[in-house]
């Protein structure tokens, strides 16, 4: 928060409802001021690697955390995760995977690829709010990032 322009959270979420609910939850805790929301994996990578429509961005200004939905159009969450964790410049950015179901066999794959957390999106709204708020608090306020 020391740097006004620095990105706090990169939220990668295609479902606008979920995105809205998450942003609302984070705002309530004052964690959404530096949040950037993209709707698919390709855009997320463009943002992180400062290319395409983000070509002018300063790449060293990486987000404190990436909240990455597993199911995304074009390029899914695991592929995005793989790209982030396999690049020297981005591998130290914490990535939190979010998904609808604990049944997902991709949970194991996500951890193996280097995901820092894995969070289930609950159906119940208050649980959902609570989960997202805690997530934001931890990664933005508690966690001491590697710089």
């Amino acid at each position: 928060m020391s740097d006004q322009n620095a990105v706090g959270i990169l939220l990668v979420e295609d479902n606008p409802r979920d995105a809205e609910l998450m942003i609302r939850a984070l705002k309530k805790k004052n964690l959404a001021s530096n949040l950037h929301h993209v709707e698919d994996g390709v855009e997320a990578l463009d943002f992180l690697f400062a290319r395409g429509k983000y070509a002018g961005r300063d790449m060293s200004d990486s987000p404190k955390v990436v909240i990455l939905d597993l199911k995304l159009p074009r390029m899914n969450g695991l592929e995005v995760l793989n790209m982030i964790k396999n690049d020297e410049r981005t591998r130290n950015i914490p990535v939190v995977m979010v998904t609808s179901s604990a049944e997902d066999p991709d949970v194991m794959t996500a951890y193996r690829l280097g995901a820092n957390s894995y969070v289930i999106k609950p159906v119940r709204f208050d649980s959902f709010i609570e989960a997202i708020s805690k997530l934001g608090m931890y990664w933005l306020k508690v966690n001491h990032p590697l710089r």
Partner: protein, 813 residues
């Protein structure tokens, strides 16, 4: 030594001569001194003195001459006496003694020489005296003696007079003070006689040594062997030196000692004894000997020694025993053995004959054979039989003869001629055997063989007997049919003739093994007929005295059926693999579908729930109570929908999950599930009882789920009762293990019992009892996956019992 003594003597002699010369010198000097003084005193004139001096000189010479004569005379006499004495001694010696000078001439020889050669040898050359033949043999010894060596030798010499003598000679060289050899003394002894004695003794020793009988000489005082020959040692399998010195009685086994001592005593009394005894070797082996013992006495009647000869008579004994044994056998043999003379008069009659005919030997001895036996010939006549015996020397036949009690019986007789020196028959030996039993057995055998063939003929299986030459000895109709032949075609022919190429088949090699190793075999064989057709046969091959017996069953049809089944099985297997693959694919699809459902259905629910909450939060002032209630309903229904999705997913997961089978302690599991599902307060109002719950074999996690669902149902549906009663137990029926959970709860209408286990099927309203209706469906699915079944009994408000049956674990060996 000799030399030394002579030197000593000459020294003494020299001393005597000096003394005499000294006395003479003294007397001579005194005489000259005093005689001259006396003469001058007497003589008064010169002429007288001269005369006196002349007489005095003559007188001295005379005295000196007389003295000299006396001395020489005495010495010569002494010398000749010594020489004579020496000659006498030398001539008396029974040996030739001579002295030979370095020119090899005799300088001296004693009288024996004259006796031997007839003349004196003195001054003659050795070679001339003895002849060149003898001289040549002696020459090397003479040469040696003349070189100063003392020579001793023995030789047989043939002298000039053609007489041969065996001599022992000693040559001692004679050396002067400087060591030059002047000649030598020769001492020659005639030892011809001694040599002859030695030779004789040697021949005796040879005879003793080479005698085939063992000979031993015993010392009667020590009773030990002092001498024995090799043959004797050989009897005992030791060396001569090993047996000499050993105790005589020790050569015999203790059991024979008394016998041997008696014979020794007898020999000492009468001079000799002859007896048989056993001897024992050092290795303990015992052998019989024939012994001749001689006691030898000296002239003064003293027992000098005992001489024994011993001969191993093992072979003889064995032969004697063999003869006795054979004679005994002949007596004991069951056959009648009868000998007759050339006129068929009975000469011997063994005990077999006594038993067989009932006549004692003495009753028939000398009787005429044909009168005793009254033989009847079946296939020939007596005359012909005698003719055969005369022509070939033997005759054998089956005949009938008569016993003493007049009964007739069948006899197998074999008679041979005992040839005499002139070629005619000296007699006959007959060996007769009672063949009553054999005849009967033969008849029985014939009968049983007929019976046995009849059985084989009518058997359903093929039967054949193959002899050692691979010929069909017997075939029944069935086997002929199996081999596509007529039964009469096969017997007498070989397998190779009937089925060419059969030697190359595996079947044949197995038959061969059975034939050679005499072992039985079983096999299934595909037999290819000459026409290319084939059939399957189950064969049992058994060695029999004639060769091998083969029992064969046509299993062509069975094989065909087996093949079909196998092919069907293979096809089925393929199909199963195919289906399994398909199922696998379907499962994968289903899995993908499930995830998609879980993601895609939940998102809208979150939205509904979330936005409703926003509505309530942000627009609370615009909503009245009814509006807020509606919002709560929306939220609750969204949550319920979420649960339905979860249950549906977990239900579908059950069919995909891999089962892990283990032994499960059902009792412990039920208790722990009950504990998990209830709070302390709940447990206080529930009577929970558990009967016998035996172990089950199954997936522990899945069985856990079964108990969770059933027990939670029981708790849920009995929650309306004042006191809930929940009872767990088992029933054991045959191969199933039936577990049940009984409650006293709401129960159900039995007519809907079949709907209980359907997915999302509920018999109670959501208001009464919450739930999605998946729990029992899950129970059913799990139990079915374990190969079991589920059912329920119940009545409205009277409780329900839910059963699940698991197949009993297979009894372990």
């Amino acid at each position: 030594m000799n030399h030394h003594t002579s030197q000593h003597r000459s020294g003494r002699q020299g001393l005597g001569a000096v003394r005499i010369a000294g006395i003479y010198l003294l007397l001579g000097a005194l005489w000259i001194l005093f005689s001259d003084k006396l003469a001058t005193r007497i003589a008064n004139n010169q002429s007288t003195l001269t005369t006196i001096s002349i007489y005095k000189g003559w007188g001295f010479i005379v005295v000196t001459a007389l003295m000299l004569y006396w001395l020489i005379q005495r010495h010569t006499a002494a010398l000749s006496t010594g020489e004579e004495r020496l000659a006498t001694v030398m001539n008396a010696l029974p040996a030739l003694i001579s002295y030979v000078d370095s020119d090899r001439r005799y300088r001296f020889n004693n009288q024996m020489y004259e006796e031997w050669f007839g003349y004196k040898a003195d001054g003659k050359l050795i070679e001339d005296v003895l002849g060149s033949n003898a001289y040549q043999k002696m020459k090397p010894h003479i040469d040696a003696a003349l070189k100063g060596e003392t020579v001793v030798y023995e030789a047989d010499l043939t002298f000039a007079n053609a007489v041969t003598r065996f001599v022992s000679a000693t040559y001692v060289p004679d050396q002067d003070a400087e060591g030059n050899v002047r000649g030598f003394f020769a001492l020659v002894q005639d030892i011809s006689e001694r040599k002859e004695k030695e030779e004789e003794l040697r021949r005796w020793a040879d005879a003793f040594e080479h005698c085939a009988y063992g000979i031993a000489l015993g010392d009667p005082s020590s009773n030990r062997i002092v001498l024995c020959n090799s043959a004797f040692a050989l009897l005992h399998k030791v060396r001569v030196e090993d047996i000499v010195g050993s105790s005589i009685i020790g050569l015999f086994p203790p059991s024979d000692h008394d016998h041997v001592r008696r014979n020794v005593t007898r020999s000492d009394q009468i001079g000799h004894a002859q007896f048989e005894a056993n001897m024992v070797r050092r290795d303990g082996s015992i052998f019989p000997v024939q012994t001749d013992l001689v006691s030898v006495y000296g002239e003064d009647g003293e027992l000098l020694y005992r001489v024994a000869t011993a001969q191993d008579i093992s072979e003889r004994k064995k032969a004697e025993e063999e003869i006795a044994y054979q004679a005994n056998i002949l007596q004991q043999i069951n056959d009648a053995v009868i000998t007759t003379d050339e006129n068929f008069l009975i000469k011997s009659w063994n005990s077999g004959a006594e038993r067989m005919y009932g006549w004692a030997a003495q009753e028939v001895m000398g009787a005429r054979g044909e009168e005793v036996f009254q033989t009847e010939f079946s296939s020939t006549t007596r005359t012909e039989a005698l003719q055969v015996l005369r022509d070939t020397g033997k005759f054998s036949a089956e005949v009938t003869q008569v016993r003493k009690d007049r009964t007739r019986f069948p006899v197998e007789t074999r008679t041979v001629t005992i040839p005499s020196a002139n070629g005619n028959a000296a007699g006959f030996i007959s060996v007769n055997r009672d063949i009553t039993e054999r005849k009967r057995a033969e008849e029985d055998m014939l009968e049983s063989e007929v019976r046995y063939h009849r059985v084989l003929d009518t058997m359903m299986e093929g039967c054949q007997i193959i002899d050692f030459d691979w010929r069909y000895k017997y075939v029944n109709e069935v086997v002929a049919g199996q081999g596509k032949r007529k039964p009469e075609e096969l017997p007498g022919h070989t397998m190779m003739e009937m089925y060419p190429g059969i030697e190359q088949t595996e079947l044949f090699s197995i038959l061969q093994q059975s034939m050679e190793e005499r072992t039985s075999r079983r096999m299934e064989n595909q037999f290819v007929f000459p026409d290319g057709d084939f059939g399957w046969f189950e064969l049992s091959i058994q060695p029999v005295p004639e060769g091998i017996f083969i029992l064969s069953t046509d299993i062509t049809e069975r094989k065909r059926a087996e093949n079909e089944i196998q092919q069907l099985n293979e096809k089925l297997e393929e199909r199963v693999i195919e289906r399994t693959a398909q199922l696998h694919g379907a499962n994968k699809e289903l899995e993908a579908f499930s995830y998609s459902v879980s993601h895609d259905l939940r998102a809208p629910l979150r939205a509904i729930s979330g936005y409703t909450s926003i509505l309530v939060e942000d627009y609370a002032s615009l909503l009245d109570e009814e509006g807020r209630r509606i919002c709560d309903v929306i939220t609750a229904e969204a949550l319920r929908m979420g649960e339905l999705i979860d249950d549906l997913l977990s239900f579908s997961r059950l069919s995909r999950k891999e089962m892990q089978t283990a032994k499960v302690d059902m009792k412990a599991l039920a208790f722990s599930v009950y504990g998990e599902l209830t709070t302390k307060e709940q447990r206080e109002r529930i009577d929970f009882s558990v009967g016998k719950l035996p172990q089950a074999a199954g997936d522990p996690a899945l069985l856990h789920q079964v108990w969770v669902n059933l027990i939670s149902n029981a708790i849920k549906f009995s929650s309306g009762k004042e006191r809930a009663v929940i009872e767990l137990g088992t029933k054991r029926i045959e191969d199933e293990l039936i577990y049940y959970v009984r409650d006293n709860g709401a129960g159900f209408d039995i007519q809907y019992a079949d709907k209980l286990f359907g997915v999302f099927q509920r018999l109670h309203s959501e208001d009464e009892f919450e739930g999605t209706g998946v729990g029992l469906a899950i129970v059913q699915r799990i139990v079915q996956r374990h190969g079991g079944r589920v059912w329920a009994e119940g009545d409205v408000d009277k409780g329900a019992t839910f059963y699940f049956a698991l197949p009993r674990e297979k009894e372990k060996a």
